[in-house]
């Protein structure tokens, strides 16, 4: 045997040892990392979360800042070339007002004579980063001396910047999802835990109640609760009420999972041993029973995000969820309810892309996690 083969033998051996000694979570991570689609989805989602968290910095303007010079204006795509030649740095052309030859309405058209170059970390509106740190710097924008704003994704009927609004909406919609999922997780833990641990009559009653909640169509149910919100509530109150409503009825699926898993292991030796040792139920569930299926719970949590997001979007879309001046994906899409909007201001649909991408990403990550957590399950 030559030295070289010996070398590879030992490294292979080391790799094997590493594999056998890796913890469950490391193994899941390794398998998840191999899932290309899920990794991609995770990065996209990561970007979305970052943009949402630092919305004040990423968005060039505030969500309700109006640009009366550019109403229902089309997206301004930064470019490197125009009729006047090319440049190394991206720029947008200036705009000027003209009358539409047919309708005689005043419209904004690009003015090829003027170039405005893009700048990073520009001075702009003063904001508070994360609501705490005051700054007036924004990620990108035009030179503050220029009397023009840049609207990457156009503006709405009030001249508000769709890009900025979408970024702020991302924060709202994702955070509602996160808090909603957390609330329903806690409820599922308590309800599913009680049902699965105590079994018997308690379980039967809880099953009945769960059945009733599962059987009511969820959006009409949410709508009923949302309709009850007093009209005079502030946007913050409405926001928290919404997360509560979404969380309050999102638990049945997860609770059932926890219940059935608990039921299946409640008579295992180690659980009985803990019970005989006099440990309290909450402690037994948390320390001895839950860890054996944590990975499944995580998968279920991830795949319940899309329902939260879609529900919020749907409710706000029909005017029963968040209300302007709040911005969420659903609120933004309220402006895009008609075929007319598709024809005349298609850029108002950009928030819909965010909805689709976020939901897809959560679903793909959920699938990837499931495969990683349970290598013997079939992918689909």
């Amino acid at each position: 045997m030559t030295d070289a083969t010996h070398q590879t033998d030992t490294t292979a051996e080391e790799a094997r040892l590493k594999y056998y000694s890796a913890s469950q979570w490391t193994l899941i991570w390794w398998r998840f990392r191999r899932h290309r689609a899920a990794m991609m989805a995770a990065s996209v989602l990561g970007l979305m979360f970052l943009a949402g968290i630092f919305a004040e910095f990423v968005a060039p303007y505030g969500p309700v800042t109006r640009d009366t010079n550019y109403i229902e204006g089309a997206p301004q795509v930064p470019r490197f070339c125009d009729a006047g030649g090319c440049s190394v740095f991206p720029f947008v052309n200036g705009t000027k007002t003209e009358r539409d030859p047919v309708t005689l309405r005043a419209i904004s058209v690009p003015d090829p004579e003027v170039r405005h170059y893009l700048h990073v970390f520009v001075k702009g509106e003063p904001v508070k980063l994360l609501g705490l740190i005051p700054t007036d710097r924004h990620l990108v924008g035009l030179n503050p001396d220029v009397d023009q704003k840049i609207h990457f994704w156009g503006t709405d009927d009030l001249g508000r910047d769709v890009f900025s609004r979408t970024i702020y909406a991302t924060r709202t919609s994702l955070s509602i999802g996160v808090i909603g999922v957390m609330i329903s997780f806690v409820l599922a833990l308590i309800i599913g835990g009680i049902a699965g641990y105590f079994a018997g009559v308690i379980d039967n009653i809880i099953q009945r109640v769960t059945e009733v909640i599962r059987v009511v169509p969820i959006i009409p149910l949410y709508m009923g609760l949302a309709a009850a919100m007093p009209k005079e509530w502030s946007t913050t109150q409405v926001y928290f009420a919404m997360t509560l409503i979404l969380g309050l009825f999102g638990w049945p699926t997860l609770a059932r999972r926890i219940r059935s898993q608990l039921l299946s292991i409640r008579n295992e030796d180690y659980v009985i041993a803990a019970r005989l040792a006099g440990a309290r139920p909450g402690r037994i569930i948390a320390q001895h029973m839950l860890p054996s299926f944590t990975s499944f719970i995580i998968v279920d949590l991830v795949i319940s995000f899309p329902y939260m997001i879609l529900s919020e979007t749907a409710l706000s879309f029909v005017g029963l969820g968040l209300r302007p001046p709040s911005v969420s994906w659903g609120v933004l899409l309220q402006q895009a309810q008609s075929v007319r909007a598709i024809e005349q201001t298609p850029w108002l649909f950009i928030p819909a892309i965010f909805v689709v991408v976020a939901v897809l990403a959560f679903t793909v990550i959920g699938d990837g996690l499931r495969d990683a957590a349970d290598p013997y399950s079939e992918a689909h």
């Binding site: 009945r208 059987v215 169509p217 009409p220 009923g224 009850a228 008609s338 689909h380």
Partner: protein, 330 residues
């Protein structure tokens, strides 16, 4: 079978009772009560000065001063005994009148959607299972992801847009202008059918995406069963074998989730109705919520949920009929 049916029937009634309690609670949820809102609606802007005593009088007239439990029994009793869902204040008439033939329109939408869902998803799911790993199979997986991710109102808008471009203008809604307010006739029914396909496609979309994957998964399992190999080893022709053995079992999960599909359709209905301009219960429900016309909203929510509970019952029976093992196990 009789025992099984009775058991499920009792279960259904209990669930319906609990559902009615929940719906009643939702009706009671908005601040103020019916009398407040009635008075506000009727007299605001008319210059009439409404006193607390007037409202109290309305309240007494309608029996709203009774304790909650009694009010619940009044309400559910009226529904069960007299088919009386109470007053709809937005229209100053009874809830039953407001709802009217919208029940049938909704049923039409529901069943055309269900039909479409199963006609499309079952054969495609089977095909995907038989051709596992083929390009078609992967394409369907991608479609399923999209089916989940695309919000239905967006799909409705896009469909509406293309329908407008390709088939001319009058495609939204449930009727053409000429029939909208006409009384029922053969022409009107035909007109309805011509309009039903669009909401059916939009509403079936996500259900189809999910059911294709369900059928595909169970069908793949079933295809690997020994009983299929055994039947093949007996010389049963392939197509007949496919239909008789694995397919029969692969549609079980579809049948057992009929209730869920109805639930999903009703859940999407109010939103899709807004975009497509459908005049059925979902749209009425949304309007009732926005007006806080809770008698109407409660009635509709109750009808929708009872339909789901009933469809669950039907699906249990169908399942027992499809799979003889279920009756024994119960």
């Amino acid at each position: 079978m009789l025992r099984f049916t009775l058991e499920r029937l009792v279960g259904m009634v209990i669930t319906m009772l609990l559902v009615s309690v929940m719906v009643f609670l939702i009706m009671e949820l908005p601040p103020g009560d019916y009398a407040d809102r009635y008075a506000f609606r009727k007299y605001s802007g008319t210059g009439v000065n409404v006193t607390e005593a007037d409202i109290e009088a309305i309240r007494r007239d309608l029996g709203l001063d009774k304790p909650m439990l009694l009010r619940y029994f009044d309400w559910i009793g009226g529904i069960v005994l007299r088919g009386d869902f109470g007053q709809a204040f937005a229209f100053e008439t009874s809830v039953a009148k407001v709802i009217g033939d919208k029940v049938w329109l909704t049923a039409g939408i529901l069943f055309s959607t269900l039909l479409l869902t199963y006609i499309v998803s079952i054969p495609i799911g089977i095909f995907a299972a038989v051709r596992r790993g083929s390009a078609v199979d992967y394409g369907l997986t991608v479609f399923s992801y999209l089916g989940l991710a695309l919000p239905n109102f967006l799909l409705a808008l896009v469909m509406l847009y293309f329908a407008n471009r390709w088939f001319g203008a009058d495609i939204g809604g449930l009727f053409s202008d000429q029939y909208r307010d006409a009384s029922w006739s053969v022409g009107k029914v035909w007109d309805l059918i011509k309009h039903l396909w669009l909401p059916a496609v939009v509403l079936a979309w996500s259900a189809v995406a999910i059911q294709i994957q369900t059928v595909r998964a169970t069908m793949s399992d079933e295809l690997n069963k020994l009983s299929v190999t055994a039947a093949r080893a007996r010389g049963v022709p392939e197509l007949r074998l496919l239909i008789k053995y694995p397919t029969r079992l692969a549609i079980n999960p579809v049948v057992s989730t009929i209730g869920f599909d109805v639930n999903r359709i009703f859940s999407e209905l109010p939103i899709v109705a807004v975009v497509l301009g459908l005049t059925e219960l979902g749209e009425l429900l949304l309007r009732a919520y926005l007006d806080l016309d809770m008698n109407v909203a409660g009635a509709i929510l109750l009808m929708l949920t009872f339909t789901i509970v009933f469809m669950n019952f039907v699906s249990d029976l169908l399942l027992a009929w499809l799979d003889p093992r279920i009756k024994l196990g119960a």
